[in-house]
Amino acid sequence: MNVHTPLILAEGVYKRFGRTEVLRGIDLAVAPGEVCCIIGPSGSGKSTLLRCVNHLEKIQAGRIWVDGQMVGYADHGDHLQELPDREVQRRRAQIGMVFQRFNLFPHMTALENVVEGPIGVSRRPRAEAEEHARWLLERVGLAEKANAYPRHLSGGQQQRVAIARALAMRPRAMLFDEPTSALDPELVGEVLTVMKALAAEGMTMMVVTHEVSFAREVADTVVFMDEGQIVEHGPARDVIIDPQSPRTREFLTRVS
């Protein structure tokens, strides 16, 4: 795979829950090392799109590829074969995900949270996994909190542990679903700083966010979604500073 083929590719992705159409034909390409921010009003399908990329949701039509591998299916030429659970899990492990409400495991310390995946899923030796985990915790600025339980950490600290937990699987790409929306304003900065560092290192990232300034500063591309469709997609500066669609313009004036 060369630099020009996308790391994440969605084609005609269609998803509905019962009778509500949530994604109505999404086409999107994210190049390796690209930071793609997704903005859009509530209910427009942003979270659902991320969940589909990680196969936490099944799609009804269209295809998604990550790193050249189709998500959830194997292409057998004349038909698509649904993948067995093990294979789905193996592929999920290659994509990191960070949630709005952190979702740290409350019965485990920060360190235990971070090593759970490497030890339990990737079968790495404990010593090696812990060393890597400590290094990751240091990178997110929480080296001294390794033995703290999530409830003793602030929201910003929890989210940074959650980022370390996702990174511990050495993912090809990271998906962030409104990582700062649940945080007190003064804690947003510390999480964004970690994400900026990650972007600077060349991590491929899809970030659903309401932080327009972050999108402007860090994103390579910005996608504006509304009612299950991509309304506008382009270089970050263009979409944010000079949006073409009136819907994008209206949304941006509302959030900023």
Binding site: L56, R91, G96, N103, F105
Partner: protein, 298 residues
Amino acid sequence: MPVRPLRRPWRWGAGAVIIVVAALLARSIATNPRFEWSVAWDYVFSRQLAEGALMTLQLTVICMVIGVALGITLAIMRQSDLWLVRRAADLYVWFFRGTPVLVQIIFWFNLAALYPVIAVGVPGLEPWVTLDANTIITPMAAALLALGLNEAAYMSEIVRAGLLSVDDGQREAAQSLGMSRARIMRRIVLPQAMRVIIPPTGNETIGMLKTTALVSVVAVADLLYVTQTIYSQTFQTIPLLIAASIWYITLTTILSIGQARLEKRYSRGAHEVDTTPWTHRVRISLARFHAPVPRRLS
């Protein structure tokens, strides 16, 4: 300005009434010779009762192990994607909760009447093993089956409530790490569900210890059966029942202390480390023991 505390004379009145009633009761119990306390006391330390108590404890432990294991299985089945699996588990719970456990004990005991021969194998082929129901369904087996299977129905409700108490975000986060369903259940969901599961399971265990007395009807040599056997010959009914009760109450007290310990352990990450002295903790668990345990019609 001086503060005059509110007078609550009725509190003193209520206290006095309780003390007087308790004193009268205590005197009557201590002085009525027909309680035969010395006889009761001797039997508490008798070999027969100790063996009966051991049997009661064994039954409790084995039945709870069956109940918990099967209860977890049923609770997981009830969350299955497959309609048939869910309904099968519902049917099980409905059936075992809907029939008295005493009836179930007698039923299993008489299973041989229904199926004199139990064959294991593939339907239509020569069976691999053929068993005589009368020899394998011993009183003990009937007791374990009835109490264990019945308990599973109740435990599945408790486990289900525990599983439902775990936030969906936990499963999602675990899935996104690539964890398998079984591992998510074992490492992420069950440990968190335990905080909800443990307290009522403790109550169930204490309830089970007492419910095992029912197996005396099929002549399993539990604490009550042993007691009955003795007093049917010596006619010292009251002192023997007192001796048995002393055993029951001692065992349930020990269980409730164990319950308090387990609860603390599974609240890891949810509470500060408990620094209360152990004497206080015993008092707390005794208080819980005295609190009414919700009874069920089993």
